[in-house]
Symmetry: C2
Subunit: 267 residues, 2 copies
């Protein structure tokens, strides 16, 4: 089983990605696709007059505050536009794709974290009404039901809280949980960079290989969204996934290039 | 099997609808939900500066022109916001719902009609680039796979063209096709009116009962969106559905009220 996560940043070539998925599908490679939608969500939130609000934790970590309106825009882009248009591209390539959000059959489930401790103007305060969570359980029976019947699942956040609420979750870490639940040999984390860079954004400093015991050491090179990819890679390997490849989705044949040696191999 | 279609017009109480679905689910009533999203789509298209464009056919019928941008907004609202939030409401009521668009596994498939003949300024012309179609086939195996595994499918347009493109289709007629494919005993078409009115919008002129042979006669009373409901009812009955009830989704227990005698019964 191959789990491919494709990000939602600017510059990603979804047509090339779907060409590659179709080629693997025709070659009977069992696979599943997980996708993001961050760039389109930012565009929509600006257009609708509700731009992203970034907050800083006491430890200095920056994250997006997901109020209810943001969560609903997130659902519109991830489960609506991105998921539907990826399923459309795959159906046009004769791949029998089925789109699912993490709410569907509680495919991705975990605790909601509805309060955030943040630093604003030098003072700590508690922000309530956050709609985020972390995936703790995957409904692997639903994925196997669809895979066994010849469908290719195309999965995106949001996930379900234990109460059944929609919660925003990190897509890379969700993909890691899915790969672990399916006992995948390989998890690909594709985005708009060639892999983990020793000196971001200098692409000539690509890290080619990381042994499982070296992940924490290399995690220090990760900037921004790459931090979650390295964390997802670590979680996937710890849960039994064979290897993780962080690769580039801006190129032709992005999946086959990553499987063929491009990107950063971990494990 | 009970197929419930709930419209997307203003005034519909989705909380009450989902309470009712949950009560039937707990009572082991096999059922499936289909939904619309027209009101939210109109709001979004205004907010995004791409308001609905209505065109008139040579026979005087008015319809929405679905250009590609409109189709994508349609996917955001129907498959994104509406579907996700209905699945969320059901999951919060312990109903194991799975949301699907008609593209998923080609659940709803039919021909795309990419040109429209319209009348503008008294002259006929052809408009190209329309993304609409009519459902001709239902992937009943996918619905039965999910129903058999204990999931409640929550279905919305868009559908898939034969080439796999996303196409806007009428939700009432799609629900009629689903009810026929599942050999449903009952199809409920719920919206923001009490049923078919002899003198729209006078709600005291509700038509209580229509025999199958009288549908064409009563179709003349239908205004606006009600025309498609009457057409869907006719198609469903012709395809073997036991009865169709056109009812009100603005009231408490909308499903049980319709099953208990409210609304317009056809068949």
């Amino acid at each position: 089983m191959l789990v491919v996560k494709v990000g939602g940043s600017q510059g990603i070539d979804y047509g090339a990605l779907c060409d590659d998925v179709a080629a693997l599908w025709r070659a009977d490679q069992p696979l599943l696709l997980v996708h993001g939608g961050s760039h389109e969500t930012n565009l929509l939130s600006e257009q609708l007059g509700h731009p992203p609000r970034f907050v800083t934790s006491p430890s200095g970590h920056s994250s997006r505050f997901t109020d209810r309106q943001t969560l609903e825009m997130f659902a519109m882009v991830y489960a609506g536009k991105m998921n539907t248009l990826i399923v459309e591209r795959l159906q046009m390539r004769a791949v029998n794709a089925v789109g699912l959000s993490g709410l569907d059959g509680r495919l991705l489930e975990g605790k909601r974290k509805d309060t955030l401790r943040v630093v604003e103007g030098g003072r700590q305060r508690i922000l309530r009404g956050d709609w985020t969570g972390t995936v703790e359980r995957v409904n692997v029976a639903l994925l196997q039901l669809l895979l066994g019947a010849g469908y290719l699942p195309v999965v995106s956040p949001p996930a379900a809280s234990e109460a059944g609420e929609a919660v925003n979750v990190d897509g890379d870490r969700a993909a890691a949980q899915i790969a672990a639940a399916l006992r995948a040999e390989t998890l690909l984390l594709l985005s708009n960079v060639p892999g983990l860079l020793r000196h971001f954004p200098d692409e000539s400093t690509l890290v080619r290989q990381i042994a499982p015991g070296e992940i924490d050491e290399y995690a220090g090179f990760a900037e921004g969204r790459m931090k979650k990819k390295v964390l997802g890679a670590k979680e996937a390997l710890a849960a039994g996934v064979g290897r993780v490849i962080i690769g580039d989705a801006r190129v032709p044949q992005p999946i086959r290039q990553a499987l063929g040696g491009a990107g950063t191999r971990i494990g």
